[in-house]
Amino acid sequence: MSIVLTDLTKRFGRNLVVNKASLEVTDGHLFVLLGGSGSGKSTILRMIAGLIQPDGGTILLNGQDVTLLPPQARGIGFVFQNYSIFRHMTAAENIEFGLRIRKTPTARRRERSEELLDLVGLAGLGRRFPDQLSGGQQQRVALARALAYQPAVLLLDEPFGALDVKIRAQLRKTLKDIQRRLMVTTILVTHDQEEAFELADQIGVIERGSLIEVGKTEELYHRPRTEFVADFIGGSNVLTGRVRDNQVKVGSTVLPLPRGIASHDEERPVRLLFRPETVLLQSEPFSADSGVIALGQGQVIERVFAGSQQRIRLEVEGLQEIPSRVPQSDYGWRTTQIEAVRPSEAEPLVQFTPEQKFWIGLRHYHILETVGLKMLICSEDSSAGEAVANFGCYLAQAAGGSATMVSVVDSSQALVNARERLERLREQWLGQLPHLEIRVRQGAAGGEILLEVQEGHYELVILGRQKSSKEARPAAFGSTVRPLLEQVGVPVLMVQEPRSSLGRVLICSAVGEPGKADVRIGGRLASLTGGLATVLHVRSSQETSEQRRRAEQHLRQALSTLESMGVKSQSKIGEEPAIDHILSEAEEGDYDLIVIGAPAPRPPRRLRWHDLANQIVSGTHRPVLVVPLVD
């Protein structure tokens, strides 16, 4: 193996940029690291090159541990997005620079640069200066320069990002040819999936610093393991179904469970993936012997012409109450949406105009690895902490997700006790939660929990809260909760008195922008636990007619969205003052959970609504779910 990364980690300040990335690249392969901007892909590449020092983990190049070596000693070739070829040197001088440093004789240098110029398709242009070359040609020079001294490993950081489409395609081909010919082990970083598929032998998908999945290109496209990769690569439809009698039930449709998929627990939710280009559309129902699985009848919502293909979005009545994960149904839609792709035709036989009805069929589908909500349960060493932990485990079990229990202690003596306590809790829940993980960390509670959440990519954090005494300051969001909401953007469930069930959820909306995220996460929890959701809107006393219209529309949309998630729901309207109304409604309705938007990062005094989150958390003993602001 030319390149082996083990648990590579990098932090910038409090931000975890690369999170224990481990990777092996087969000799002579071209490996593509694919990820969005800020996913940490370039940081990994720069650490391999030695331009950034990792905070943890090791880098092996050709069996040698280079983790602590400077870039000069690593024997790598690096190509930058902005070319970075030396302006005062000709193309040939640029290519020869590495050899000049290595004191190669002039004649040999000439020979090598001629050879490389030829290889990258720039024969005869060696005497030109960079400003006499086009962007594509400059990048070719950069590639030749990186290859001149025969590096063991070639690293390319979005090498074609600054070029236009045509030239990009040419350069891709050149790179692929050269890489095949020289068999140099290569890592290329890009955000462009088309580029990744065209070039890669293997692709690694990276998100928020973690390598989510690594695989051969086609495998990754057709049979991804995770929902994230299914969604990130290509267009996709992901529906949620339930396993029953070795079959998958999606609405009224029953599909056989594909072979090779581990038998799932009965009644467990599963995610079903099918690509838009595999969706069949026809105007008559599918016959039983066609081998096509009919999903039902759908109505075209929109058709988008996109050059070589047309994208058709349909809504499907028959799949009501089936949460479609991807594409996420537009907010306020009751029905499930499905995307299909058809090749464009100059004289189409079938027109896909809105409101037209089609039967939707499937030939292939793929079951994704099921993960429910990934939760972190923070358990303190107290009877209250125990109750919180139990409530968290109950939630995790109901949500069908994975959970990690963490306890933060301040001294090393307390480590053992805490571990024992968590072990006991794990024993108790072993039956219902076989995958419950436990972790004990030492340090300041706020910082350690923040780190744990960043490293583990949790979707929900459950925190216990001490019963507030009268003297306690009203601000409920301390140094633990605020960074979780603002820095990581993860919903925080604050539990003071655990409930025995999660049957009734109160989603609060009031003056100001109503939170769509609140509705979605509240609905998700309610759907997982089969509860009833109530959307409460508190009206301002001086509400204008325009504001009223908007609020009513929001309530309608919220109910539709909840319905599309399969949640029984109702709406209520209350009068100001918001805080009193919400609290009294919570008591009257005996709700098990209150969902509320997070306060603004630095709340201006006049925005009373945003301060509401704090007031509600301190004003009730019921569990409160605080949902971060999403932009």
Partner: protein, 276 residues
């Protein structure tokens, strides 16, 4: 080529604004400059020869050139270093430091002279300890040198730093990944891109040092044959009523400055042409 074509294609209307500009500039800039040469020429060639056969005139010019040369050399290196550090590294107080290094442009040169006296003079903050040891930086050639370093410091920085700022961070990193050491990267990759900035920065420093008056008059003590620079000599002669002598040296100084300036102009023009 390109610039020439552009120039000819530009329309030659606008006669009025052009002539108005010339009319304003004539008494403001052109006539005073002309006056130097006219007065200098009045005494005839003989007067020039007589002036420059005097040892203090010779010394003043020589001393000025020497100081200017030394100043450009030291500030050339120091300014480049400062620009490199300020452009490359991010550290607390960087903003403040870049203000401080540019400060000499804003401070009146006479004030610079005063502050140097207050530091290095016989009664100054540091000078009071040096004085008993017989070390006196002020009222000596070294004091003049110090003043010129102070006054001209920002010019090199101003010429080099923009080039470095524009240079992508990956430029140096590219050199590292290829195998160049820090020094090799600086010597073969960074320094050559700075050529233009170094040249114009040095020239500017030299020209300013050659004409420096305010700070020099304070710290030099205006000692004949010891610390008297050409501008000081001109001033002294003028005050003594030897207008022709003053004018002769002034004409030489002006000619030197013109020459430097034209070299600089030609150079920057050539560079901008190449970029286009």
């Amino acid at each position: 080529m390109k610039t020439r074509r552009r120039r000819t294609s530009r329309k030659t209307t606008g006669l009025l604004p052009i002539s108005f500009l010339l009319l304003v500039l004539l008494p403001l800039l052109l006539m005073p400059l002309g006056a130097i040469y006219i007065f200098a020429a009045r005494g005839g060639l003989g007067h020039f020869i007589r002036t420059f056969s005097q040892s203090d005139a010779q010394f003043a010019l020589r001393f000025s050139l020497l100081i200017a040369f030394a100043t450009s050399l030291v500030n050339g290196v120091l300014g480049t270093f400062a620009a490199y550090v300020l452009a490359k590294y991010r550290f607390p107080g960087r903003e403040a430091l870049s203000v401080v290094v540019n400060l000499p442009v804003a401070i009146p040169t006479v004030v610079v002279g005063t502050s140097l006296l207050l530091l290095w003079g016989p009664l100054g903050l540091l000078g009071q300890f040096l004085d008993p040891m017989g070390v006196q930086p002020m009222f000596a050639p070294f004091g003049v040198f110090l003043a010129h370093l102070f006054v001209t410091f920002p010019y090199m920085l101003g010429a080099v730093k923009p080039v470095l700022d524009e240079l992508e961070a990956t430029y140096e990193e590219a050199a590292y990944t290829i195998g160049a050491s820090r020094w090799q990267a600086f010597r073969f990759v960074i320094l050559p891109t700075l050529r233009g900035g170094l040249f114009s920065g040095t020239l500017l420093t030299f020209a300013h040092s050659l004409g420096e008056f305010g700070a020099t008059v304070m710290v030099s003590g205006n000692l004949r044959l010891r610390t008297q620079t050409a501008p000081l000599y001109i001033f002294a002669q003028f005050e003594a009523g030897n207008i022709e002598t003053a004018n002769a040296v002034a004409a030489v100084l002006a000619t030197l400055s013109f020459a430097l300036f034209f070299v600089l102009l030609r150079f920057t023009q050539r560079r901008s042409q190449r970029v286009a």
